[in-house]
Symmetry: C3
Amino acid sequence: MAATTELISALLLFLLICSSDISTGEKTRRPEPCKRLVLYFHDILYNGKNAQNATSAIVASPAWGDKTTLAAPNRFGDVVVFDDPVTLDNNFRSAPVGRAQGVLLGAINFAGADDIMKNTRDLSVVGGTGDFFMTRGLATLTTDAFEDDRYFRLRVDVKLYECY
Amino acid sequence: MAATTELISALLLFLLICSSDISTGEKTRRPEPCKRLVLYFHDILYNGKNAQNATSAIVASPAWGDKTTLAAPNRFGDVVVFDDPVTLDNNFRSAPVGRAQGVLLGAINFAGADDIMKNTRDLSVVGGTGDFFMTRGLATLTTDAFEDDRYFRLRVDVKLYECY
Amino acid sequence: MAATTELISALLLFLLICSSDISTGEKTRRPEPCKRLVLYFHDILYNGKNAQNATSAIVASPAWGDKTTLAAPNRFGDVVVFDDPVTLDNNFRSAPVGRAQGVLLGAINFAGADDIMKNTRDLSVVGGTGDFFMTRGLATLTTDAFEDDRYFRLRVDVKLYECY
């Protein structure tokens, strides 16, 4: 299990550094992935009172924001650092197989009503270490749960197209 | 037009995450790009009074800075989140074909007088989604206009050398 | 020397953007690097009193942190922008061959006692410009010195596996 944890950590670090975009529906023909895995990230945002179980914290915000509430509108300008447990199913109480560590950036200001629960977003996987040495591919993110800006869960479907 | 917008967004997200460096003049022989496009980004920085038309905001700054003025000297330590309209020519009033969303980082402290209007900077394009699935290449940036730290325009010449 | 400086800068910008992970000991068989170089980064953190020789500054921190002291525990949530001199040996007074410019992110919250002086960490090199056009590979980081949260020195062993 320790080995699995290490390897998954190694991968996840590289998933989360880029802002997301709306998935364009895979219209182009694509090769088959050489590796695929589905993971769930569980995030509890620090709100000033939950230091004992928070897994992320706002560390920067625009002039009109603060560090215990997400900025309005659209969370534009918020920078959130996270260290989230990762599980293989969507149960928060399942044994974690790794941790997702990185930063989220609110960079959408002028979007219309983005339905966070419906849309998927594709991110590029641009590198990796350990068992994921030099891999490249895509991660498709779905917001699997979103409770009141306090807890959210992401389903992350990792498809690697270059493996060593 | 909507499709173009989506695709260009998909690409731009990956251009802007890295700090820039001074272009070394393309002295090495290079392959021909498999795809090329020239884009203009238009940025208006939030200054405390222009919330209605600002497209970017300072969200973090060093101890000697603040969130409505760029830090001196050299903007070192400023973190700026942006959601800029992108056009195909250098006219601010042209119809946008997409949005550039990401973060700019002031990380040059000890440079001499960098002539921002003369120098170009190369950035790596390390991935993409949609029509830009798995692409890699370079983006050469030129500051096309820079007005008093309030408005600036970037010319972005994207040259992709790996296409799927 | 100027040319060397430029080229090394070009490379370093891309090393430092990702959080690090614990090296998994290179157990997989790997190809030989097509390029390799060992560099030392020297970092002096701004503490409110050392503006004249600091090379980095805290620009964002969680609600419980500030901009002149690293956050406890584990520096979680600190965002540090740096512009560090780079040398070819571990002597702070050697002539710099370039500068490392980027951002460090404290994203480990729940780790046990991480022995920063013993562990190495692998980072992905995901791109480059100039002589490092389109390169990919790994950088293995060792903390070579760590003095009281004020000065630290990193040994960076860059191994490139894709060269153009």
